[in-house]
Symmetry: C2
Subunit: 146 residues, 2 copies
């Protein structure tokens, strides 16, 4: 009972569990998890970004984004074009296939979020998002140098 008690009142455990279930629901619908989602969202308007910019908008580390982009390139979802202004960089854009997939991804994300938050009353939803954002901010500060 001891562990079970901690599980039910551990925000750490519950967010990990929720995150895993979100990823699973997404995977069931579009065959992929959370990794490419920020890329889809950022580039679905037809714009381009560098890897570094995508790292920032996705709030992941650089090698994570490098690997995600490698997989997306492998699957024909993105193209990388050398950046004319900086030879260390490429500009990343979605392919036509990538744009299709982005649409499907957006629809799936909306659907899964609706299912998840269907368990909340309408007035609870903004509160839930707000609390999550505050938890994120607190934990980000925990990772900063003193």
């Amino acid at each position: 009972m001891h562990m079970s008690y901690e599980r039910e009142t551990s925000a750490g455990y519950l967010t990990n569990w929720a995150a895993r279930l979100f990823a699973r629901s997404l995977e069931r619908r579009i065959g992929t998890g959370s990794g490419p989602m920020p890329v889809f969202f950022a580039l679905q308007d037809g714009s381009t970004m560098t890897q570094k910019e995508l790292v920032q908008v996705a709030a992941v580390e650089q090698p994570t984004m490098a690997n995600t982009l490698n997989r997306m390139e492998r699957d024909g979802l993105i193209v990388r074009t050398p950046d004319p202004d900086d030879r260390r960089s490429a500009r990343i854009a979605l392919t036509p296939l990538g744009l299709e997939r982005a649409e499907a991804a957006f629809r799936a994300a909306v659907e899964v979020n609706d299912i998840a938050t269907s368990a909340l009353r309408p007035e609870e939803r903004p509160a839930f998002h707000d609390m999550l954002r505050r938890v994120v901010s607190a934990l980000e500060r925990d990772g900063e140098p003193d």
Copy 2:
């Protein structure tokens, strides 16, 4: 702005982000992330469990737990003893070193959860846990066969 807007109102994104930050804060303190935590909690009272039982209490899939246990065994944190009642099974127990680490893990988990939820008002905390649990339940049902 489009993606950023989605991010701020996507429970899926926010839980993933929070879960990653929780794991990072834990890793900074005890050198490991969330994987072994349910094992520590389940066995810190000196009891033993089978891998299957640990799969259930941790709410992860069997190969995940197999791999986690392999790592813990490698690091001298657990011992596996063949189950006298079932030759397919071993009973898993924490070593003395494992018990020490479980204590440290528990303290770190409490500290990180306190930091995270310090951003919430006292009356918001049970509500937050409750909402997370409801989100989890809704998503679990999404994964069930029709």
